[in-house]
Amino acid sequence: MTGKILVVSTCEHELHYFEFVRPVTDILENACFEFKVVPLAKLGKNHLAKAEKIIICGTSLKDFGYLKLAERLSFLKSPEFEKPVLGICAGMQLLCLQFGAVLEKNMEIGLADVFFSEKFLGLESKMQAYSLHNSAVKDSTALRRGFSVFARSEKCIQVVRHLQKPFYGVLFHPEARQKELIENFAKCKL
């Protein structure tokens, strides 16, 4: 047990919770981490104060409700906020949006080969990961000003890390095939 992990749900429809949030909390539960789930629409200062780390989960292909709630994560821009954050799919997009990156239409459904240029939360070289997205973060100078790119698939950027803070983003869904990534994020001193 290493303190509380705040798991943020970006799902607009409650039935998607079981597909995009529960698999993440199952991994945390199996590894004996304490966690709390909060919907993005209800995320407040009190949640942030208690959390030691934050995981922002993804959502379904047709769900774009999270884009209207990007403002809820504006605390990430504050110079004082330095807690580790892992954004998954929609969560990665929201993370990058805070720092001026833009999204582009880019669809992947199914297993994609992901090529790592550097080691990232225990993952390296090449692996097949489950991708399910309609948009991706565009590779631009705006993105590169805030993040370094750790991995790509043939179609888009898959993994980023903020240049100054412990903010991590993965576009694929590690809860399907790379469960160790989530465990490593929860476990490691970042």
């Binding site: 039935l15 529960r22 047709k62």
Partner: protein, 230 residues
Amino acid sequence: MPAKLKTAVLFSGGKDSTLALDYALRHTSVKCLVSLLSENPESFMFHTPNISFVKEQAECIGIPLLAQKTKGVKEEELKDLKKALQAAKIKFGIEGAVTGALASVYQASRVQKVCDSLGLECFNPLWQKSQFGLLEELQERKIRAIVAGVFAQGLEGFLGRKIDGRFIKDIMPVVEKYSINPAGEGGEFESFTLDAPFFKKRLEIADSLILDRGDGARVLKIESLKAVKK
């Protein structure tokens, strides 16, 4: 309160799709069940033993069934699934489909693509659920299913058994000995649902026979079912 999303549930008559239906009933407005009746006993994606009895199950549940025949050949199955979901969209105005996909990225991503091409939401409420967790949840939700086919060594004795607490206890040592997936998602066994709290009538097997397909593969072929008042 916004209106509940209208959905179709991909229903094979087994425990996983029954549990997915249970979720769908709690969170959406289920308009119909969609079943693919595969003529191929080794269907790639869809559950086959006793699939023709989904009609009786749907009647007991009281939800309309859209049954689509398929030859059960890999990519043809997807075209047939698309046809069935398209029909559900026209007939019932569904906005989403719910599946019982658990761990197979192959199965899940293909259904995702079909839904996407039809502009439908796709829900997979059992996604990545642990195998024992799934068996336990079936008990919590009072879903009564039996083992209707066994396809792996060591499971022969489980054919026809109720999937209950005792089943979970008994299958443990077999799972460990033969490294079998206890929920049968790797195709080790198939199940058939006889009752759940949302069934208006429960089903009883009136007549069945056991087919031995060799190499430890045995199927409980249902010949007739009886719907019983609850």
